[in-house]
Amino acid sequence: MNLPSGTLLAQSALSGLFIGGLYGLIGLGLGLSWGLLHVINLAHFGLAFLAAYVCYQLASVGGMDPLATLAIVVPLCFALGVAMHALLMRFRVSPLNSLLATFGITAIIEAGIQSVWTADFRKLESSYAAQKFRIGELFLPLPELLTLAIAVALAFGIWAAMRYTDLGKAMRALAEDAPVASAFGVNARMHALLLAGVCGALAGVAGVCLALTYTLTPAQIYAWVGVVFAAVMLGGLGSPLGPLAAGIVIGVSEALTMAVASPSWAPIVSFTILIALLLVRPGKT
């Protein structure tokens, strides 16, 4: 058996880093919703894909720059996130039931996407797609670099906001003990709706990054669920930095497995890491 070359390993690790960044970006809003709002929001994936399709539409048909579509997509997803959470609050949906309810919402979003854009493939052809940088023998594609940069910036930005702003502290207090936080004057409903909107907006950003990199079909929504859930659980619920770090660990470990062994072993590696961590540090996720 030939040993893989250094270039192959490094290029594969880069590929894992990039897709790990995307796992982290999608997982960011999901983890916040799960950890702080106690809503296991499967509709986060549906919202991300809806955002991807809106980005596709605005860029392909409307002629907008894909990144400029963020100006429309993010407020739209913020509003949808707020509306969705208001609905869940109205019916006092428990965390476990939120999984079922948001799965239903995902199915509705998928059907809506299919009725507007059909089930056929949609590919956003942008000026970013073909651009890449070269460092020695290694290549860094621009869409993936942008995605990673956005994921890192948002994860650190939200971490800082949670840690250093009154709003962030109030949200953490509500997640910790809502009645006590309310007794101190924190408006639980308003903060929950605001956070749900932020999670929706994060899904919107992830959707634009998906559209930049991937060909879209409605059924692709579900392809991301397993691995992003693993990243969120590995990274810790409610943690802004955790899903990004975990996503990168999963992405790189999968990519290196693909580089040295059979690519079909890659999913085994990521889920083995998750199971091992759950065994080693139970209750930490």
Partner: protein
């Protein structure tokens, strides 16, 4: 007197019409339509391709009814959504037979659902004509009939056809990389390609498998680049081939000769990265295929209907042609048997050759498969054209190499 006769003539005519023509017309009108039942994956991961089959079925039934229907009766197509789930397809086919009481069955889309439908058809002794079943060795039921003429042993014949085409090049490939999805109807073909390549003296420099649904093609692309094969056999289905090509492009690599098993037709032909990509076909929109009876009319109708259904790629190729062929086979079977009796229809199809837009098909081989009519096609100037065998090549088209 003349006037009197004329009145009587008119009266006689009215009586005749009342007592003979009207009842006949009423009887014809009162005859219920022949109901053909099927499922399609109208939602779920297979929906993009199923949409093609839906459009083709609608066109065919409309054309059939314009021609007077079948056995003097109009035809109604009942299509249910199996949501890309083979288990649901089985339930729905049972419903079609036992509850909807359809007269005939038409196959669903994709190998898994067809296999489910085949079990139901076998239990109720119904004929099942199907569009694109990918694993002929699993088709055991005697009254199932394939519309996709890929032969009884495609794992052997298809790779041989591809390597025949490449062998005719001034500089044939000496090394091969086989990279493949583990999707069932693709995987066994890729394993066949390994065996055929070995028998033909090609050196295998890489063999890789990935799970269907893989999201990161970067490391696979890097390994292909590292292996430097003369020819890459990509056992891919749907978007996988395009995703691998995109990953290759991101590391500045273009495979010299590259073949894709079942690519999503639109995205690959439209992608500039897919220049000279090879695949297999049973029909493309150029002579000699378009010389088949009905082909030209079907193509022009399909262009309009597919555009109306917002299908981005409106060209007729493997899926649409196989779908149309399936309806042609069923129509020929009913007309040939002059009956809706499934056993009579099945016996007639098995004993006869049927002219379709793919060519003249027979169903008397193993698992009712006939000749292997798979040809090699290539992306040239943003569209698929057949390049091998030469007698099926598009006018002026030859196999292009970098």
């Amino acid at each position: 007197m003349k006037k009197h006769t004329s009145v009587w003539h008119r009266l006689g005519l009215a009586v005749a019409v009342t007592f003979f023509a009207v009842p006949v017309a009423l009887a014809q009108g009162a005859q219920p339509p022949i109901r053909i039942g099927s499922t399609l994956a109208l939602t779920g991961p297979l929906a993009s391709t199923s949409l093609v089959h839906k459009v083709v079925g609608e066109i065919y039934v409309e054309q059939l009814n314009k021609r007077g229907g079948l056995l003097g009766r109009q035809v109604e197509w009942i299509v249910k959504d199996d949501q890309s789930k083979p288990d649901l397809a089985r339930t729905l086919y049972e419903q079609l037979v036992t509850s909807d009481k359809v007269d005939l069955l038409m196959g669903p889309y994709a190998t898994g659902a067809i296999l489910s439908a085949m079990g139901v058809a076998q239990r109720f002794n119904k004929v099942l004509v199907h569009h694109t079943f990918g694993i002929p060795s699993l088709a055991k039921y005697e009254m199932q009939f394939p519309a996709w003429s890929l032969g009884a042993d495609p794992a052997n014949t298809v790779p041989n056809t591809v390597l025949d085409a490449l062998g005719a090049l001034p500089k044939p490939p000496k090394t091969i990389a086989v990279v493949t999805s583990k999707f069932p109807s693709v995987h066994f073909m890729s394993l066949g390609a390994r065996e055929v390549a070995k028998k033909r003296g090609l050196t295998e420099v890489l063999f890789l498998e990935w799970d269907f649904g893989n999201l990161d093609y970067g490391p696979i692309a890097a390994r292909v680049k590292d292996a430097r094969p003369d020819f890459v056999w990509v056992g891919a289905i749907g978007l996988e081939g395009t995703q691998l090509l995109e990953a290759m492009s991101k590391i500045d690599y273009a495979p010299p000769l590259h073949f894709y098993m079942y690519p999503a037709p639109g995205p690959m032909s439209k992608s500039p990265l897919a220049k000279n990509a090879l695949s297999m076909t049973v029909f493309e929109e150029h002579p000699p295929f378009t010389n088949a009876a009905g082909a030209a009319e079907f193509i022009s109708l399909y262009h309009v209907r597919a555009a109306n259904a917002r299908i981005p790629d409106t060209s007729v190729e493997v899926q649409a042609a196989a779908s149309y062929t399936a309806w042609q086979i069923l129509e020929a079977g009913v007309r040939g048997a002059r009956s809706l009796d499934d056993k009579a229809i099945g016996a007639w199809i098995k004993a006869n050759r049927i002219d379709t837009i793919q060519g003249r098909l027979r169903f008397d081989g193993p698992s009712n498969y006939g000749d292997d009519l798979m040809r090699v096609k290539q992306v040239q100037n943003g569209r698929w054209v057949t390049v091998w065998p030469k007698e099926y090549a598009a006018p002026g088209a030859t196999l292009q190499v970098p």
